[in-house]
């Protein structure tokens, strides 16, 4: 489903964010991407939805050479790859329903399909009863569930999550992880970049560890800290994570 071969990403300012990545992710899998801050997790995800192109190497997603994809074809890739961020990226002047419908409307869906598709995903994420509320009337977990519903409404084969629980308390974090798990059980390939040790260790799924742009561990049913790896690094303890303010991704900031 996802295949990276010899991928190197050097940003225009000279930062080498990824360095010789080789990676295969099978259809239907559930994978964690972990590593220190600034080791290239977000950069790797960005390659998969063509927010970035690799400086070298090939990126294949669902049989498509994403690195070679013509600009005009990128929207079709994006409809097949849902993306969720730490800061939700909801439109504050639209309701939950409108935020989710937006993803269908702007891709030219017929209104019949909007009316059918939106309740389906809102049911899935458990927000059907709050569909008329605005984002600022929702808890962080509910906002993230709205964002997930929006990412899913186009029926993507892959769901990419960049620190989806970064701003959430443990209870909401668990809810979101359960939701992502259920989504995965329905056949969607899920790839999650996260710092959350507890989440990774509880789920016991495939864990890919990045260090300075290289893969240093890749284990099925792994832990956050690779077997025999260093002890918990205090900066990554969950208790510290919650005190950190919202991280903004480079795609959007306000």
């Amino acid at each position: 489903m996802i295949s990276l071969r010899g991928v190197t990403l050097v940003y225009p300012n000279g930062t080498r964010a990824l360095d010789g990545i080789d990676l295969e992710i099978a259809k239907g899998s559930f994978v964690f991407l972990v590593g220190h801050s600034g080791t290239g997790k977000s950069s790797l995800l960005r390659l998969l939805y063509r927010e970035q192109r690799p400086s070298r190497g090939s990126v294949t997603v669902d049989g498509i050479r994403v690195d070679k994809l013509r600009r005009s074809k990128v929207p079709y890739l994006r409809r097949n790859v849902g993306v969720v961020f730490q800061d939700y990226k909801l439109l504050v002047d639209k309701t939950v329903w409108e935020n989710v419908a937006f993803a269908l409307q702007v891709t030219g869906a017929r209104s019949r399909d909007v009316i059918r598709g939106v309740p389906r995903v809102l049911d899935l994420v458990g927000l059907a009863h709050k569909s008329r509320m605005f984002p600022n009337e929702l808890s962080g977990g509910e906002q993230q569930r709205t964002a997930i519903a929006r990412a899913l409404v186009n029926n993507p084969k892959i769901l990419l999550c960049d620190e989806p629980t970064g701003n959430l308390d443990p209870a909401n974090t668990n809810d979101i992880m359960d939701l992502l798990h259920r989504i995965n059980l329905k056949g969607t390939t899920v790839l999650i970049a996260t710092h959350n040790v507890l989440v990774v260790d509880r789920m016991r799924r495939r864990v890919i560890r990045l260090d300075d742009g290289r893969i240093t561990a890749d284990e099925e049913r792994g832990y956050y800290h690779a077997a025999g790896g260093a002890a918990a690094d205090t900066a990554e303890l969950p208790i510290m994570r919650y005190s950190v303010g919202p991280r903004t991704s480079s795609l959007l900031s306000e």
């Binding site: 937006f102 030219g108 959007l252």
Partner: protein
């Protein structure tokens, strides 16, 4: 077309348009000024061109005969000129007829009753086939014994025509500059909207909206701004034509203002088209630059 889709699209355009009303009005105002000037310029050029043409074709040689020459001499000259290939027409104007024509032409402007005797000599009016031959014909006429004076406005007219061509080019340059200015202002207005909606645009791109789809509402916004501005301008021009042209015609009795020759509907549509095109092109570029990032 799916009505829900159309409604969604129109509501997006309306939201854009109402987002920064002040800038939007500035853009519309600039287009209005530009199109008014463009319209006035085109009208003036058309009219001036016609006047120039008329005057040019009217270049005629006035041949004044000596007092001693009689009707017979005049007829002899006319007969001789009739055989000249360079001459298109010859008209004999006896002094009495000349005075009558002058009375007609200046009626109401000069009190002709003050004239107690006829100051005009007998005259011939000669038209050349080609304005380039006027010099030669005039020279030949000057040599004739019964001719007192030969007058024509060739030089002056040609200078005038040349001058109006130069002025026309300057005017065209100014209008072109104004159009560019209007385009820049529209494009800045659209860029403000783009900036205000950058979150939405980023999300659209994220969920897979095509760049054409993302562009369309902004193109529509530019189109609307251009069209509104041009419509306002056309309205102003229509009022000006109704109010000013009759006064102008009164003030300049010698100038034939060929108002009727300009097809008002076609002209208005052309101006609207220019306004709309400026809006579309301007917004195309301002959104395009943003989407390429």
């Amino acid at each position: 077309m799916d009505p829900g889709r159309v409604r969604f699209f129109l509501s997006e355009v309306a939201r854009n348009f109402s987002r920064n009303v002040i800038m939007q009005l500035t853009a519309i105002g600039t287009v209005t000024v530009t199109i008014v000037l463009l319209g006035a310029f085109l009208f003036t050029r058309e009219t001036a061109g016609k006047i120039g043409n008329d005057v040019l074709h009217q270049v005629q040689i006035s041949v004044f005969l000596k007092d001693t020459a009689g009707a017979a001499d005049a007829k002899a000259i006319a007969a001789k000129l009739a055989h000249d290939r360079r001459v298109a027409s010859v008209t004999y104007v006896p002094k009495a007829e000349g005075l009558a024509q002058m009375r007609d032409r200046l009626r109401g402007q000069i009190d002709m009753s003050l004239l107690t005797s006829n100051p005009l000599p007998d005259a011939l009016r000669v038209r050349a086939v080609d304005t380039n031959h006027v010099d030669q014909v005039a020279a030949a006429l000057r040599k004739m014994p019964s001719v007192a004076k030969v007058e024509y406005a060739q030089d002056a007219v040609q200078k005038l025509v040349r001058l109006s061509a130069v002025l026309g080019r300057i005017g065209l340059g100014i209008v072109a500059l104004l159009i560019v200015t209007a385009a820049i202002i529209i494009s800045n207005t659209i860029r403000l909207t783009v900036f205000a909606r950058r979150r939405e645009i980023a999300i659209m791109q994220l969920v897979g909206a095509s760049s054409g789809y993302i562009r369309l509402p902004f193109i529509c916004e530019g189109f609307l701004a251009g069209l509104c501005g041009a419509a306002l301008a056309v309205a102003l021009l229509a009022v000006a034509r109704a109010q000013l042209l009759p006064k102008l015609a009164l003030a300049l009795p010698f100038v034939p203002l060929h108002d009727a020759d300009v097809n008002a509907v076609v002209f208005a549509l052309e101006l609207l088209g220019v306004g709309a095109a400026v809006g579309i092109v301007a917004s195309w570029f301002s959104v395009g630059r943003h989407l390429r990032t």
